[in-house]
Symmetry: C3
């Protein structure tokens, strides 16, 4: 279930196979190729392009997507070219790009190139900049990139529905010439929020505040791949947020520098060090750090409900109810969306007896086996697997040096401890 | 419905007429005049003042206000001097101001001068700094301004109710001497959130999370005037936020600099460039930019629900329900606040058949005619009309140069496109 | 009810008494002592430590806590060593610390040292870094501090429940040598949100958006002590936030500098002046200012609902209902959680007739007597009592110089005022 580097390599290989397939299909019309850079979207892909008369051509297809958001948990999302988030568009400062957009959705759409300076008529706002792209139509956008940074693309027609269903992607513009030292790893993570009723596979686009699934690149842990990093490598993560809330992403095991908002690389004096980066809506935040300590390091949203899935919000306080008691049964019948919350806290939810209780269909279990028992987090959560020699590791868990794991204190050690 | 520059000029003229009226009325007691500056609150007004013994006197009247929030949509708000937000108070660093506050509300009130250093007894906190101003009473505040920037005023009695109903205003203190180049346009926008039940005109002040109207200066688009700007002009927008949530304001067509929080003009190195400015609660954010591209450029909150009106939040997912079907009828009966959401997304809501469906009274329609069909946004949304010659434009839509509008691709162009 | 400096001194004395008690109890095993610094958590305490083989030993006990959140309002919280937030851990850059954690909760727990660089196995993430600490067990954490700043500790097992119930604390690491001038006062304030049904003492940990109690160090005003400050003193306040929302803290009576995020002291040029500091989730924000004006100065969250307690959110708009009318009675019966909201706004809630109405048990009244009548705020609110001679003040209210309190205007003054 957990993606190891080997699986990642397989994935990359498959992608290359797919790309070469395009080469064959489209031989006459120009060669489709995958942009070549270290920039990657974990769990996602890049949009192929072809050169034509000095212009980079791309083809986005807006369409419904069956997305495996968590293990065995499939969601009826909308996206681009079979995926949500849409594939990463990569180009270089100075490029002229021509982007064809085919609408295979049941309603109109358009695309706004969030943060990119384009002519007024290429700006994608339905009714204001252009006509809606009707189902079945293919529109053409064309503009020259005279800026660089991390931008996004998303619909500007019925955006409430279309963004809520997964339509969003990164648009990375590399600078013509890199200044300063470059990172060894460059990850893209799009933050997402979803309201999916228990047992359903259909997100509710009209929901504004009560979300129950929180995603990195439209997946929850452990479907979200872990990030494989070699000790000493310089890492950049670029977060994009088109959801309804700020997400404060906390990074374990290091202190990072907040280096950019995607639009401008901050002056060094204004690059704050921090351990949590708050990513506001409609914004990008980039962080950079060097992992100098091997280990399994969590990275997650710090809103505690955002590292859980499928929570109901009409749940009564059951802290003092006895599990399997008559009150519990009664509660289960009375409370809509009653979530089998344990009587002593949520931890019990992961116990065997809880797991054997009836649950709604297409409801995501969670609790993933880890090196020290169950990892009870999901949602906006993943693990950076930092290793001195990642190639030796085979994607397994970190082997802690002796004496460096929190463990029960000995009888001697607890002697004379502070009493309450 | 859409305010053009001509209408704006009319408005300014009316305001001047009103001001001259005051001059006549108050001739004996000092001349009331409108502060003279390029600073304007689109859709709003400025508070007149008179000089008396070297002091600038102002008069704020706290009172209920019937506010046209959207076209034909009237709200029972509270505000100052007949408007919400209250009129802008403008003064200059070094001024001594005397502000009379008359309470014409059905409950007590006070005013806090948010961010301005005043004596403890002038700070406006009911019970702590002063007695409440009872209905019918007129209180006097007096202090000297030894700072400059963008500040706010609002009640500090029952603030939950009074701010939620619209009681808030800007207090702009100009510096004694301007440093550096000044903007050509200087707009003030107060962000607001309202919970108004369908069919009602009364905002619910106790609502904390489920708002359904989101406003710039207490209006939604298209009642909110568009901003007329000449290409090459330097524009400043100052946003104030006294609502319950951060609002990330996204600006199309330019990259801006975030220059100030109202209290301090940021050191140039700390003036980040960005395309979305997140305005936290209780805060001001100022952005500056030069519009170098003519066009119709949207400016709006990027929380997608905040550019819609009157949404219910108990709406089921109707993506797969067929419009006008029996299920739809059933849903309409069963679901309180059912919002006629289309079966294929919200877009359908703007179709003719949807418009002919029964709606609650005093419910705001939206969908405004634009140059390319319906503009389906409202709420915290407006348009910057940037023109090379605004005077020739007469407030109409932008005339795009040939070949610069996204449009259907030709048969030849789509040949050999990437297939899914 | 309101804590005066005398009471604070008493508290400190009691704490010292308690500390000396520990000295007696633990004489054989090393002397437990309270860290010696000006850093204080108003309403809270510090964790004692003992030196052993050059290591600083601490003992945290995770356990249920009966917390007096407001006057007579007791909450069944969880915390450490009898308190929520847990006692402040203080150490110095370069220290090796050994922290014993005893679990007296009814479910497992662990501790994550938020922001502190530790070996992977000491990072506290259940299942990933270590096994859960089962009820009754005592675990040992050990690491060396090679950084300084304001950090936090909290569970990383069932964090949704455990943090929501109050398990959080500060971990302050002082620099080996202080650079620059130090503040005279150094306050720690942990921000909290709670969902406690009317009449209940049990917070609902599954609540994600509809909180009704908002706390500084797990108390609401006036249980939260006021801050006693001498005019001219340099004050630092460090805010920590492990709740579900950003809290924009507004400070009256001064303009502060935002100097740090706990991890890095900002370069002076990047230390913005402001009057409201937005504290994101999972984050620390430090502000510094010199109070140059004596007075009673409010400091509070600027989300207006966060300075109220016990609000229901199904409350109808009663602005036009007549109090004690038949509609009111009907409303009271029909509306769950109906909050006795006044017919003219919330202010009426504080009137005598309202106070005599039936209320649920264990429901917090509010409205505190102040120098000018009732202070109607509570929640995330307290007062900085800034005095030229605090020792003369005895904790009373500020004595305003004549003519500096907002008061009714005279007949002559209101002559010729602007009419509406
Ligand atoms: Cu956007
Ligand atoms: Cu989050
Ligand atoms: Cu963590
Ligand atoms: Cu304020
Ligand atoms: Cu907004
Ligand atoms: Cu937009
Ligand atoms: Cu944390
Ligand atoms: Cu708050
Ligand atoms: Cu205040």
């Amino acid at each position: 279930m957990i993606r190891c580097p080997v699986e990642l390599l397989k994935k990359i290989f498959n992608l290359m196979l797919l790309a070469s397939l395009f080469l064959v299909i489209n031989l006459e019309a120009g060669q489709w190729q995958i942009p070549d850079s270290i920039t990657t979207m974990p769990g996602g892909s890049k949009l192929p392009y072809r050169e034509k008369d000095g212009v980079k051509e791309f083809h986005l297809i807006a369409e419904p997507v069956k997305k495996e958001m968590g293990p065995g948990f499939f969601v009826d999302a909308w996206g681009y070219n079979g995926s949500t988030p849409g594939p990463v568009i990569e180009a270089t400062e100075g490029d002229t790009v021509r982007i064809f957009v085919t609408n295979k959705l049941p309603e109109p759409t358009t695309i706004h190139w969030h943060g990119i300076k384009v002519p007024s008529g290429m700006d994608g706002v339905t009714g204001l900049s252009q006509k809606p792209i009707m189902p079945g139509e293919t529109y053409k956008y064309e503009f020259t990139l005279d800026q660089w940074g991390t931008y996004m693309y998303h619909p500007h027609y019925d955006e409430m529905t279309q963004i809520a269903l997964g339509m969003a992607g990164f648009f990375v513009i590399h600078p013509k010439s890199f200044r300063g030292s470059q990172p060894d790893r460059d990850f893209l993570i799009m933050l997402g929020e979803w309201a999916i009723p228990p047992g359903s596979s259909k997100p509710i686009p009209s929901e504004m505040v009560n979300f129950n699934y929180f995603t990195f690149n439209s997946t929850v842990w452990p479907t979200t791949p872990s990030l494989s990093i070699k000790t000493g490598e310089k890492v950049r993560i670029r977060f994009g947020n088109l959801s309804m809330n700020s997400h404060p992403i906390h990074v374990h095991g290091t202190v990072f520098r907040e280096t950019s908002n995607g639009v401008e690389r901050f002056n060094f004096d204004a690059q704050f060090e921090d351990v949590t980066v708050n990513v506001p809506v409609g914004s990008v935040r980039e962080i950079e750090f060097t992992m100098d300590q091997a280990g399994d390091w969590a990275i997650h949203c710090h809103k505690s409900h955002h590292i859980m899935n499928g929570m109901g919000h009409q749940t009564y306080s059951l802290i003092d109810l006895k599990l399997d008691s008559a009150e519990m049964d009664k509660a289960r019948k009375l409370i809509p969306g009653f979530m089998l919350m344990g009587s002593k806290g949520m931890g019990e939810m992961f116990s065997h007896e809880m797991h054997s209780m009836p649950r709604p269909k297409n409801f995501m279990h969670y609790g993933t086996p880890g090196p020290f028992g169950t990892i009870e987090m999901s949602g906006m959560f993943t693990v950076m697997k930092v290793r001195d020699n990642p190639e030796d590791d085979k994607g397994g868990w970190y082997q802690n040096p002796p004496g460096t794991v929190a463990s029960p204190a000995s009888k001697e050690e607890i002697e004379g401890l502070l009493e309450e």
